[in-house]
Symmetry: C2
Subunit: 335 residues, 2 copies
Amino acid sequence: MSYSYNDKTVISKVLEKHIRKLHSLVGNAVTEDRFIIFGTGSTQVISAAVHALSPDNASSPARVVASIPYYSLYREQTDYFESMHFKFEGDASPWINTTNTSSTNLIEFVTSPNNPDGQLNKAVLHGPYVKAIHDLAYYWPHFTPIPAPADEDLMTFTLSKLTGHAGTRFGWAVIKKKSVYERMTMHMELNTMGVSRDSQLRALKLLKVILEGKGREIFEFGYKTMKARWEILNQTLSLSNRFSLQKIPPQYCTFFQEFRESSPAYAWLKCEREEEKDCYAVLKAANIIGRRGYMFSAEDRYVRLSMIKSRDDFDALIERLKELVSEEESVVKGT
Amino acid sequence: MSYSYNDKTVISKVLEKHIRKLHSLVGNAVTEDRFIIFGTGSTQVISAAVHALSPDNASSPARVVASIPYYSLYREQTDYFESMHFKFEGDASPWINTTNTSSTNLIEFVTSPNNPDGQLNKAVLHGPYVKAIHDLAYYWPHFTPIPAPADEDLMTFTLSKLTGHAGTRFGWAVIKKKSVYERMTMHMELNTMGVSRDSQLRALKLLKVILEGKGREIFEFGYKTMKARWEILNQTLSLSNRFSLQKIPPQYCTFFQEFRESSPAYAWLKCEREEEKDCYAVLKAANIIGRRGYMFSAEDRYVRLSMIKSRDDFDALIERLKELVSEEESVVKGT
């Protein structure tokens, strides 16, 4: 089994065709006249994107930024691979007023829906020296209404958040510019000599199943499941003054052709009591393991809880939250 | 399918056990009390090794070197990922006398058997500031006698040159030091979040087949095939004054328990005529595609020819070489 397919590329043309078909069916991304590249998970795809968008011969490195709260890998990975060409700078907002007056190259990660809080983020930086990586890992109808097909210069996706096959390590990017596509292709070759064919075959099999019939079943099932979990969680915390959840406004979903509530992959839970600054510890004491706000460069008053673990895990989470809330009620009632 | 296995690692313990068993059976590497890490092909493993062996806080980057001729990826990949921590410097030999007098950190790639010329290279640099990456991709009984199990600090292997499944993108390293193992593990996580499970499963299936019975069949078949090809090639060029091949001394092979000729993966062909400095062009004119010496930082008087392509490709190579050699004879005979 060679490195490359018969057409000398390391990308299965059949799989690429199925990816385009899926985006077209779901209506979540424009892929006509766009390049598609594969990576070993979107982890590798976003690293390739940072390398590709960084200028080769600028006097100072491109600054890589994101709006808080943001997925910790952006920082960890960019710090790890830091070079003369790019450097992680953290929060995007201080750069908003500098984009036109300075020639600093900026690369903004725009995650939509956002990890951890599920918001449909937009880019906050605009200008001649700004480039964006739109991480659309969660932009599928089971997690969010799809208001319109995304049509950004560089969009990344992953099998992990589409079918749950994180272990297959298969991600992709949809790219407008040929030069960016070529640089990302070079990255994949020098880093891992392409993507495992076994992963590509697995991805193809899964996409074929998704596309069977009208191609709606997985999204209908996924939405129903995620929506039910989100409702149960909201209900569980509805009487609490101690804990709150993010609000995500309903929007029209072009895929389901109706207004829909969000059904996010994560709860972004806040400890509301002044003294409970370490929300992770509060939950930990109740045997609930989340990911602390600090990991997302936010306050530790926030914790990310996963809604996409197994049913057993989710049920246990709800049971333990119920206990916490009932303690709270007992205290309020003085019992 | 999660990112990790039930033990929270991203490495299949069953596969790891099979890899240790194979090394022990073949006798090509010591794996007792060693750490094993997986990568997306040895391409990713060697990149992780360069990152892991580079000092974190030195005043100048580690210099990455190799003996000429060397595999071009070392240069291409190290140049591409160049950072404050490491830098590719090319030929190892100028550094031989500086290893004790300078505090420059050096990382030497030692490829054995060497790509392109099949020699059982040894490290040329030694000293307190020198580390080595032993690339043992071809250190299997079908390509070389195995004089003894390799027992180096950091050794890399790949499925690609063991079974031919390059497209599966599966490589591994055998590592002595825990700190190096941990840094390489971090590299794999930040770069690709581990190795595809589908690749790991494929590797496991292949290793199980290799280990069936006495575990000798694939190596006996592989040696016979490669040895026959090498003999045919040598015979084809035996009367030529225009082309020559590398000589690799026979050695005792502990696996086959007898002295054996080498049976290399590549021919390192030299154009002997003074005026034929561009050997690649000479062969290209005869419809033979090799890889030019320049790619291995050597003279273009050399060309690497692959002995591991399909039988059809090999037969075509021999036919075309025969034509070249018979032209040569005609000229000599004046016919």
